[in-house]
Amino acid sequence: MFVYRSAATISPVDYMVCSHRLRWPELLPWVAIIAAYFAFPSYLALGAQVMIMVLFALSLDLVLGYAGIVTLGHAAFFGVGAYTAGILAVHGWEEAITALPVAAAVAGAVGLVTGYIILRTRGLTLLMLTLAVASMLGEAANKANWLTGGADGLQGITLRPLLGVFHFDLFGRTAFVYCALVLFAGWVFVRRLVHAPFGRSLTGIRENAARMHAIGAPVRQRQIIVYTIAAALAGVAGALEAQTTQFVGLNVLSFDLSGAVLIMLIFGGVGRLYGAFVGAPLYMVAQDALSRLDPEYWFFWVGLLLVVTVMFARGGILGVADLLRRKVMR
C-alpha cells in the first residue's frame, strides 16, 4: 500500500500504472554492497554469507509475504540446493555457475512435488507439514551417509575458478562478488515477479482466496507455482552456500535454519521485497557483534531485540521506517 496522499496530484490510473517504477531508495542495498566490498575487506566472508541469507530470505518472502504461506520448513529447499551443488562438485562437476541452475531445478522439483501435496491445507496444519517435509529430508540426509556424508558432512568439494579465472580465495573476495551478482539477478527477477500481475494476484489470494476463485484466478495453481519458484530460488541460495563454504552439513536442512531465515525476514519486514535486504544483514550483524561481546549469553540479547522489535516496530524495521516516513510527510 502506498501513501495515497501523494496521489492527489495525478490521476488514479497514472498512479497505479507507475507503481512499479524504480525509486532511488531501492538502489541503496546495491550501493551498500559495493561500499562494503571496499570498506570492509576483512568482513567479506560474513558479507557473502549475509547475501546468501538475503537471497534465501527473499525467496521466503515470496512464499510468506506475498502468498501468505507460513512455513517452518523453507530450509528444505536451501538444503536440497546445497546438497545438489555439493554432490555435483564432489562427483566432478566443478564448474560453479552451471551448477546453480541444476540446484534450482532440483530444489524447484522438490518444491513442486511437496507443494502439490501440502498446499491444499492452511494455517497450523500447513505449518506443520512444511516442517515435516524439511525434517524428513533432514533425516534422510542423515541416513544417506553414502551420498551426503551424513552427520560428518559432505567433504571433498573442490571448484574450478569462476570463469576459469577467479578462484575462491581465503579472503572471500571471489565469493563476495559471486554472491553479489547472483543476488542481484535474484532481486531483478523477484522484483519483476512481485510487480507483475502474478505477484499482485498472490496478494489477492492472501487477502481473500474466495474472491480470487470468483474472478477466475487459478488459486491453487498460482500457489504451487510461487512455492516452486521460491523453492528454486532457495535452492540457488543453498548452492551458493555449498560453493562458497565448500562443505555441506546437515544443518542446511535444519529446523534452526528455517527458523533463522523466518526471523530475519520478519525482523526486516514481510511482504515488502526489501525486508530481506534489511532483516538478514541487521540480524546477522547483530548476532555476530553480540556473540563476540558475550559468546555465552548473546542470544538473550538477540531475543530481547526480537521482542522489542515486535513491541515497538510492528511490520519489522521497514514497517517502522514506513510509519516514520508517513509521520514526517503529514
Binding site: 500500500m1 495515497y4 512499479h20 519483476r192 507483475a196 500481475p197 502474478f198 499482485r200 487477502e207
Partner: protein
C-alpha cells in the same frame, strides 16, 4: 431463445438438511430474472452451486449447453460466469482500483503474467477506472477498501463482477446495505448492462426487483414454488403469505 444457464435436478444437502431440493432452472440469454424467497430458502446456496463454490450432492449445472458440474470455479468464470457475494468478499487492504483491476486482468488472462509489470497494461487499469466512474466510486479509487463505508463496499462488489464482463451475471442482494438513494445507481448500472447478458438477481428489496426483473422465480425450502412475471408473482396468494406479507408491495 438460447439458454445461457441451466440446472437439472440440482440438489444440495448439508448433512441431513436439504437446502437445494432438485431444482430445474433455466436462464435465457439476455434474461433479467430475479430469485426471491424467504430467508434460508437456499437462494445463495443455489448461486454458490452454480458458481462452483459448493459442489452439488446431485444434479448438474450447464453453462451455454455445456455441463460444467465437474469444473472448478475458475473454469466456470472463464466460461463467462460472474457473481457477487451477499456478504462482502473483497480485498480489504487493497485499494478500490486495485480490487477491480485484479478482476479485469484475470478476465484478459493476464493475471498469471510473471515477467511483465502490472502497470505496463494501462488499458486494464483504465477499464477498471471507467467502471468505478460508472458506479460513482471514482473518488475512492485509491482508498483501501476497508476504509470506505459499507454501502460503498457493496458497490465495489458489483464493480468486480462487472469487471469480468460475464455472459451470465449472478447478483446476490447487491442492494442490501446500499441506501435508497444509491440503489438508483445500481439500478442504472444494471439497466445499462449489455442486452445479451443474462442476469440473475437475488434481492429482498421488492422495489428493485419489480423494477428490474422481467421474470421471477420463488424459491421456498430449496424448491421452486412458482415462476412468473412480476405481476403474476405479486398476485400469487402463496407468495404473499410466505414471503411478501400483507398490505404492501401491492
Amino acid at each position: 431463445m438460447t439458454v445461457a444457464l441451466e440446472t437439472r435436478g440440482l440438489r444440495k444437502n448439508f448433512g441431513a438438511m436439504v437446502v437445494t431440493n432438485g431444482v430445474d432452472f433455466k436462464l435465457a440469454a439476455g434474461a433479467r430474472h430475479a430469485l426471491i424467497g424467504p430467508n434460508g430458502a437456499g437462494k445463495s446456496t443455489f448461486i454458490n452451486l452454480i458458481a462452483g463454490r459448493l459442489t452439488p450432492s446431485a444434479g448438474s449445472v450447464l453453462l451455454a449447453g455445456e455441463n460444467v458440474t465437474a469444473l472448478s470455479q475458475e473454469a466456470r468464470v472463464k466460461r463467462g460466469l460472474g457473481r457477487t457475494f451477499q456478504i462482502n468478499t473483497l480485498f480489504a487492504n487493497l485499494t478500490v482500483l486495485e480490487n477491480v483491476t485484479m478482476a479485469v486482468s484475470e478476465r484478459l488472462g493476464r493475471g498469471g503474467d510473471k515477467l511483465r509489470f502490472a502497470g505496463s497494461r494501462r488499458d486494464i487499469v483504465e477499464e477498471a477506472y471507467e467502471l468505478l466512474k460508472r458506479l460513482h466510486l471514482a473518488e475512492d479509487a485509491l482508498r483501501p477498501v476497508r476504509e470506505i463505508a459499507y454501502g460503498r463496499q457493496r458497490l465495489v462488489e458489483m464493480a468486480i463482477a462487472l469487471g469480468l464482463r460475464p455472459r451470465v451475471l449472478l447478483l446476490d442482494e447487491p442492494a442490501a446495505g446500499v441506501p435508497s438513494a444509491e440503489t438508483a445507481v445500481i439500478l442504472d448500472v444494471m439497466e445499462a448492462l449489455p442486452a445479451d447478458m443474462a442476469v440473475l438477481i437475488i434481492e429482498h428489496d421488492m422495489d428493485l426487483v419489480f423494477r428490474f426483473a422481467k421474470t421471477i422465480t420463488v424459491l421456498v425450502r430449496g424448491a421452486v414454488l412458482t415462476e412468473g412475471t412480476p405481476a403474476e408473482i405479486v398476485a400469487d396468494p402463496r407468495v404473499r403469505e410466505i414471503y411478501l406479507g400483507e398490505g404492501r408491495h401491492g
